[in-house]
């Protein structure tokens, strides 16, 4: 005897209702004595039926109480019945009034919720549109930049071909501004003037942000004087801004390189601050 047969043939219910043939009943009893699954199904079926019976009994009891109350009032005098009817009428009216008031309140609440939902949907659409426009603008600018770089590279190649130069014209020391998480106070770069070539190039990595239209770099010396400010900058295809400064303009000490983002409405958002430590002297 297997479970598929038991389930498909509905043996659990047939057994409980005493509708199995005697021989089948004996076989099934011998099976389920050693079968926890069948025992659980039988137990649940029994419990379910008892639950339904208890439910039905409760309904009958409620109906009986209602009928008893009605009979009680019917036995009383007309006056008492009238009073009871009046009380019932007042109660019913109050219930109706409360129900109507509650309905009105619910309807008003539903209206408020709907208008709030509409507003949120509108804001969401607007934001999505702005985001899409920002992405489109960014893509366009990236394409323009790539085109400019290609033009410059072509021009440089042409120049090299014309002058016959096979190596770069400028030897530069490049310092990548990098802040190690947890060591924000440490300098992002240490420039040793005794060992650097000219010019000194500070490379600032950019995390592209759709809110930002242009970037600005400001370098200040240890005394807080602004050495150089470059605005209206766009990152190169490596998503980096490059600032080249002559080594002679730098003195020893910690300089501050500030990176700000410029939004389309012209306001500046501070993005990063890097410390550039200058040591040594020009030979």
């Amino acid at each position: 005897m297997d479970h598929r047969e038991i389930v498909e043939q509905g043996w659990i219910e047939l057994y409980r209702r005493g509708q199995l043939a005697p021989e089948a009943e004996v076989r099934f009893e011998e099976h389920f004595l050693g079968c926890p699954q069948c025992q659980q199904d039988l137990d649940l079926a029994r419990s379910f039926q008892r639950g339904l019976q208890a439910m039905a009994a409760q309904e009958v009891a409620r109906a009986a109480v209602g009928a008893g109350l009605a009979a009680f009032f019917a036995r009383r005098s007309r006056l008492l019945f009238g009073v009871a009817a009046l009380v019932a009428l007042v109660g019913l009216s109050a219930a109706l009034y409360l129900s109507t008031a509650r309905n009105r309140q619910l309807a008003s609440l539903a209206g408020e919720l709907k208008s709030e939902l509409d507003e949120r949907e509108l804001a969401r659409r607007k934001l999505a549109q702005e985001l899409a426009e920002g992405r489109e603008r960014s893509e366009r600018e990236r394409a323009e930049l790539a085109e400019r770089i290609a033009t410059l590279e072509t021009a440089a190649a042409t120049g090299r071909a014309a002058t016959g130069l096979a190596r770069p014209q400028v030897l530069s020391s490049v310092y990548l501004m990098a802040v190690v998480r947890g060591e924000e106070d440490a300098p992002a770069a240490i420039v040793d003037l005794a060992q650097t070539a000219e010019p000194i190039t500070l490379a600032v990595p950019i995390d592209l942000d759709p809110r930002i239209h242009r970037y600005r770099l400001t370098l200040t010396d240890p005394a807080g004087r602004v050495l150089v400010t470059l605005g209206d900058l766009l990152p190169n295809p490596l998503e980096t801004l490059l600032l080249a400064v002559p080594g002679a303009s730098l003195g020893p000490g910690d300089h501050l390189l500030a990176l700000d983002g410029i939004t389309p409405d012209g306001s500046a958002l501070p993005l990063e601050r890097y410390r550039v430590r200058v040591v040594g002297r020009r030979p």
Partner: protein, 201 residues
């Protein structure tokens, strides 16, 4: 079985633990009211006596043996009851107080009724509700109900299956919640016993 033959009480306990639920279900099917509880004890007493005497030696025949003993006891019980049956004295019975169920039994029955009510309420259609109530309460024949609603046997079984599954989920959730409440109550009791919480506030 050999251990029971040797008089090992622990083995007898294991026998009851292993087959107790099945025998209870079997007796529940064959008995009415509280008779099943009495016959449950009689069944195991009789089976253990027979095993001690070595009347059964093949362990694979034990489930059939147990079922046979339980069935025989139930049949015998109702045969004797039928012989003792007399006409009831309706006047005297009017003064006999109804045997009240224990508060725990009432609580469980009430919870069970709530689960069943939820299942009935959640059934998709009035047709399904009617099928369920006719089958379980009126105990109408399955084929008759199915024919009245133009359902095949498979479709009919599906309606019952869905309802039973939902009941099973609710029932198991209640059992799990009950276990949680039990643990919390036990914890509170232990805390009280250890003096961590005052007995009264």
């Amino acid at each position: 079985m050999a251990r029971i033959r040797a008089g090992d009480r622990e083995a007898e306990g294991s026998l009851v633990e292993r087959f107790g639920k099945g025998i209870a279900l079997l007796l529940d099917r064959h008995c009415r009211g509280g008779d099943a509880e009495d016959l449950f004890q009689d069944t195991f007493r009789l089976v253990i006596e027979k095993l001690r005497r070595g009347e059964l030696r093949e362990s694979e025949k034990l489930p059939a043996f147990l079922a046979q003993v339980a069935r025989s006891l139930a049949i015998e019980h109702y045969r004797k009851a039928a012989r003792r049956k007399t006409e009831p004295d309706s006047e005297a019975l009017a003064f006999v107080p109804a045997s009240a169920a224990s508060p725990l039994t009432e609580l469980l029955a009430s919870e069970n009724a709530a689960l069943a009510r939820q299942v009935v309420r959640e059934l998709g259609t009035a047709r399904d509700r009617e099928i369920l109530l006719r089958f379980y309460l009126a105990e109408d024949d399955k084929d008759t109900i199915a024919a009245d609603h133009g359902l095949s046997s498979l479709q009919f079984n599906r309606v019952l299956h869905r309802a039973r599954q939902r009941y099973k989920e609710l029932y198991l959730a209640r059992v799990a919640a009950g276990a949680g409440r039990g643990r919390a109550a036990l914890g509170a009791l232990v805390a009280m016993f250890l003096g961590l919480v005052p007995l009264s506030r």
